[in-house]
């Protein structure tokens, strides 16, 4: 199989719009979790979230007009605008804005989303009920379909290779990168724009996740403390939004054109829990087998991994189950690895989480620093024996990284990235 490397990065997160803007704030220990002000929360149990900071585009704020014409924005949900913004960044970073006609045939797009255009569906449903079907826009369907993020990016750049999408809840971003890497490895494409995007913050999204008893709600006075993976006072995840997009490229192709290589996609493992629609299997077996499959594909051992970016959503059950699975997987190597959950800073970006976190992993290798787990004041009794990087980032050798993502439906993905030689 052909080798696959990462040559471009793009981020829209609750910390900032932009890769370096987000990364520097993450390492600075900043939080993207704030009181919700953009819609009414008076009757909702959760009153905070990790929203993308909007503004004129300066100081890391997100200005949609910089990424998509206002006329086009009007026709699509925010998850597509975020995907476009992160894709434009990643493609520019990779220097792949103007491939030849032949190269464009070998360039594909694989962007997924966990939920897609929830807010647009909500608005259109109300319009349908109040004013009838003749008021429904012809752009309603193409502006909400999840694969239209891939479609819009391909249209903008003329990328005519594989055009695909992933919908696996909170594993979406990781599956998108893993599947896209396979398309390159199997010679279906030379370059793939891949990742996840999400913009489901709204009354309906909050109400739905709150009803599933998944959301944190007890930190209204101090939202920045709400996401606290492995801490004994954690009470659920904090809903986030944003997008993380990478440019993946066949290794020799990247080397031949002198592209910057952030790392190699060495391993990708998938598994199913076959257990429950929202809860992970209690023995952590699904996550364990996803990691095991990634190691098998990578031809690597746990002792080769220096940093694990955990799924670690800050839910009472999930954090400890994942911890147990990692400990079992790593065995003696658990003592030397550092593991953190960056969701402590940016919340849970659902379908974008896996790709945003893979980007953090690539940057951790570049800068040889493991980002911190914020708010880990009092670790639960069951989490000892692995360095969880509490409060502040840790400078250390990072040769290879593992990133876990687990989603509703019992869908698991693990990615292993390593420094490319």
């Amino acid at each position: 199989m052909r080798r696959v490397v990462i040559t471009g990065l793009g981020l829209v997160t609750p910390l900032a719009c932009g890769v370096e803007e987000t990364w520097s704030r993450l390492l600075d220990g900043q939080s993207g979790i704030r009181p919700i002000t953009s819609f009414d929360v008076s009757d909702l149990s959760t009153k905070y979230a990790a929203n993308v900071p909007r503004g004129d585009g300066s100081d890391g704020t997100f200005n949609p007009d910089q990424w998509m014409e206002p006329k086009e924005q009007r026709k699509v949900d925010d998850f597509i605008v975020y995907a476009m913004a992160a894709s434009v960044q990643a493609i520019k970073d990779a220097g792949w804005e103007s491939p030849s006609a032949e190269e464009a045939l070998r360039t594909g797009v694989l962007i997924g989303s966990g939920i897609g255009g929830l807010n647009g569906i909500y608005d259109a449903s109300i319009l349908l009920a109040e004013k009838g079907p003749r008021r429904i826009s012809p752009f309603f369907i193409p502006g909400r379909l999840i694969n239209l993020a891939s479609g819009q990016v391909s249209i903008r750049y003329g990328f005519k290779g594989p055009n695909h999408s992933v919908v696996t809840a909170c594993s979406t971003g990781a599956h998108a990168i893993g599947d896209a890497a396979r398309l390159i490895a199997l010679d279906d494409a030379d370059v793939m724009v891949a990742g996840g995007t999400e913009a489901a913050l709204g009354r309906l999204g909050i109400a739905g996740f709150a009803a599933a008893r998944a959301l944190s709600s007890g930190f209204t006075d101090e939202p920045h403390k709400a996401s606290r993976p492995w801490d004994r006072d954690r009470d659920g995840f904090v809903m986030g939004e944003g997008a993380g997009i990478v440019v993946l490229e066949e290794y020799e192709h990247a080397k031949a054109r002198g592209a910057t290589i952030y790392g190699e996609v060495k391993g990708y493992g998938l598994s199913g829990d076959a257990y429950h629609i929202t809860s992970p299997s209690e023995d952590g077996d699904g996550g364990y087998r996803a990691m095991q499959a990634a190691f098998k594909r990578a031809g690597m051992q746990p002792s080769d991994i220096d940093y694990v970016n955990a799924h670690g959503t800050s839910t009472p059950a999930g954090d400890e189950i994942e911890f147990g699975a990692v400990k079992r997987m790593f065995g003696n190597a658990a003592a030397s690895v550092s593991m953190s959950s960056t969701k402590s800073s940016i919340g849970h970006l659902l379908g974008a989480a896996g790709s945003v976190e893979a980007i953090f992993c690539a940057l951790a290798m570049r800068d040889q620093v493991a980002p911190a787990t914020l708010n880990l004041d009092n670790p639960s009794d069951n989490v000892s024996g692995i360095d969880l990087v509490p409060h502040t980032p840790k400078r250390r050798e990072i040769r290879a990284v593992l990133s876990n993502s687990f989603g509703f439906g019992g869908t698991n993905a693990s990615l292993i990235l390593a420094q490319a030689d």
């Binding site: 006329k71 003749r134 826009s137 752009f139």
Partner: protein, 78 residues
């Protein structure tokens, strides 16, 4: 009645994101103003909303230029 023409042009400018100078009466939505078939459907919906008039599909199919729209509305709005 010139008011109708101005209101039609304003809707076209907003929905198609084109410059006002380009929205002349002879301009074709698709050939001159960059609209596609979906844009055209949405434009007709916007005219219906603005002028409180129902434009049946058979009539909408014949509204291809700015002038077509103005003429239809003049004839059908009381």
């Amino acid at each position: 009645m010139s008011d109708i023409a101005e209101r039609v042009k304003k809707i076209v400018v907003e929905h198609l994101g084109v410059e006002e100078e380009k929205v002349v009466e002879t301009a074709s939505f698709i050939d001159d103003l960059g609209a596609d078939s979906l844009d055209q459907v949405e434009l007709v919906m916007a005219f219906e909303e603005e002028f409180g008039v129902e434009i049946p599909d058979s009539a909408a199919e014949k509204i291809l230029t700015v002038k077509d729209a103005i003429d239809f509305i003049k004839e059908n709005v009381a």
